[in-house]
């Protein structure tokens, strides 16, 4: 065995590890066709929403599952991305070429500032401070009376891309979100296995050790936080386009909690886990909330059961390490 193949797992193991992600993406790929066959366009919209949240859950997993940073404010970055679209649209800027980079950039900037301040703290204090900053953004959005205040505001329409693609078409939009999710997933797979990712995983396990071998751990964690914020911002950009509406509720801490639930239920520190988690949580929410308005009474115990029976998330029930 040569030195450069030392840690690569055998082909069979890698193949088995790829089965579940493939199945997930296959499921998402057939949705528009099934919805078309059943005459249920609603499913296209539901799964668009699911994939948008899956992108945000992936973003959260980078800091939570790989970096060990429990951010309880990730909905805020989604919200910043969404509001960037809303505000630009309000002022008549509907070009996606401008809107999208600005939305992502604004979320990254928010994550940079919040991350730089929060990462000075540890453990439960970190959770509290990320929550506090998210709440500040939430109340700021509430106070933006020009942009609808606590009612939120309806957009003029979806982003335009010089007539290249029409986002207003539900199916086209579905495939764009699908592509964003797939690229985020594949990109993050590279990132977590890269030198950067290895340092990040090391920091999660033992930050003191990482400093003792020469890493400026705070800098690497901050970089992950900003990357994560940017990706969450992109998911917010998609969400604003999907609903053609933005409101402070996008940033509520309940949303942030939902994202954590998706990541933890699906499988912390695996990348297909958060996608599975988003599907599971939002489908269950959809189904259960039709049955009863007290759907959390059913959903709560389900979470407890999953976390208890399937430590490490549902995707680990299917075997394979990650």
């Amino acid at each position: 065995m040569s030195a450069d193949t030392l840690s690569a797992p055998p082909r069979a193991v890698r193949f088995r590890g790829a089965l579940l992600p493939l199945a997930l993406f296959a499921l998402l790929a057939v949705v528009p066709f099934v919805a078309g066959a059943l005459g249920q366009p609603f499913y296209v919209s539901l799964f668009t929403r699911i994939m948008i949240f899956a992108v945000a859950a992936l973003a959260l997993d980078l800091v939570l599952g790989y970096g060990g940073m429990v951010s309880l404010g990730h909905a805020a970055y989604m919200g910043v991305g969404a509001y960037a679209i809303g505000i630009l649209s309000f002022h008549g800027v509907d070009s996606g070429w401008l809107q999208w980079p600005l939305g992502i950039g604004a979320a990254a900037l928010a994550a940079l500032v919040i991350g730089a301040l929060s990462l000075r703290t540890r453990g439960v204090y970190f959770i509290m401070i990320t929550l506090a900053f998210a709440q500040m953004l939430y109340y700021t959005a509430n106070a933006l009376s020009t942009y609808g205040g606590d009612d939120g505001m309806t957009l003029w329409g979806r982003s335009s891309f010089s007539g290249l693609v029409k986002l207003s078409d539900a199916r086209t939009f579905y495939w764009i979100v699908f592509a964003v999710l797939a690229l985020s997933y594949l990109g993050l797979r590279r990132v977590v296995a890269s030198k950067f990712g290895r340092v990040l995983r090391g920091c999660k396990e033992n930050e003191r050790r990482m400093a003792a071998i020469g890493y400026n751990t705070a800098l690497y964690k901050l970089a992950a936080f900003v990357l994560s914020g940017a990706l969450a911002g992109l998911s917010g950009v998609l969400l604003a386009n999907h609903t053609e509406f933005v409101s402070p509720a996008y940033m509520s801490w309940v949303r942030s909690g939902d994202l954590i639930v998706m990541v933890v239920i699906g499988g912390l520190g695996t990348l297909h886990g958060p996608i599975a988690g988003a599907v599971l949580v939002l489908v269950l929410e959809e189904v259960l909330s039709k049955l009863t308005q007290h759907w959390w009474l059913i959903f709560g115990p389900l979470i407890v059961l999953t976390v208890w029976r399937a430590k490490g998330g549902v995707v680990r029930l299917f075997g394979g390490r990650a």
């Binding site: 030195a3 450069d4 990132v191 296995a193 890269s194 030198k195 033992n206 003191r208 071998i213 020469g214």
Partner: protein, 252 residues
């Protein structure tokens, strides 16, 4: 030539003075042992030299540079690395990866987001060479959580070595290892002599007197004596304050 110079270092934890007016110099290429009873302040000294603890007073000069206020990772980059008294490895990483991460840190920044780190042949080869130095090459794919206590002690040193240090601060490398593995450790440290300067904290007197060029005796945070092994053996204050009951062992 002096590589590490410690000047009038002091550190207290509330009422406990863990380091008192401590001065020390370690010559380049030498093995300098620091001995002292439990709670004498040895680990506290290492923590201040490594940069984890900020001293209340005094200076640390390394390689001609005042590093007293530098953070841990900057000191490591200058060539000052430590091992931990209680093994402190990445338990869910393989031995090779534990060492590879240290090699990776030496190779410059890690803002590389795309290529698979585990397939970096150059880093893996260097990491493997270091594992060979400590005799762990055949365990390279084991997780750090899976290997024996003694092997983890060796891994501690391999990780520190892989940072490419000018100087190693070893905090009781033989803590809790059996006589055979202790022997292995002494042999390994002997091979490092001259290549790396070592500050060795150790309770095993046998090992200390065999390895050290100079010894400093620490009692209640104060250096009560510094000298060659022979001088320390003969030092009356040392015998009285610390070595009393171990007299026989020392003379033997």
């Amino acid at each position: 030539m002096t590589l590490l110079l410690v000047e009038r270092l002091a550190k207290s934890f509330g009422a406990v003075a863990a380091t008192r007016d401590l001065s020390l110099d370690v010559a380049e290429g030498s093995i300098h042992a620091v001995i002292g009873p439990n709670g004498a302040g040895k680990t506290t000294l290492v923590a201040q030299l490594a940069g984890e603890l900020r001293p209340d007073a005094g200076h640390v000069l390394f390689d001609g540079r005042d590093v007293t206020r530098l953070p841990v990772h900057r000191r490591v980059r200058l060539g000052l690395a430590r091992s931990f008294q209680i093994s402190n490895t990445l338990l869910s990483f393989s031995l090779l990866e534990n060492v590879a991460l240290a090699v990776q840190a030496r190779h410059g920044h890690s803002f590389r987001f795309w290529a698979d780190a585990s397939r970096d042949g150059r880093i893996n080869a260097e990491a493997l060479a270091v594992l060979q130095t400590v005799g762990l090459a055949d365990r390279r794919d084991r997780l750090a959580s899976e290997v024996s206590h003694g092997e983890r002690r060796l891994l501690e040193i391999a990780i520190a070595l892989a940072t490419g240090p000018k100087m190693l601060l070893l905090d009781e490398p033989m803590a809790g290892v059996g006589p055979e593995e202790g022997q292995r450790m002494v042999e390994m440290l002997r091979t490092l002599r001259g290549r790396v300067t070592i500050l060795l904290i150790e309770h095993d007197m046998d090992a200390v007197f065999r390895l050290a060029d100079r010894i400093t005796v620490l009692v209640y945070g104060r250096a009560i004596a510094t000298g060659t092994p022979d001088e320390i053996r003969a030092d009356a204050a040392v015998r009285e304050a610390y070595l009393g009951e171990e007299d026989d062992e020392l003379v033997a």
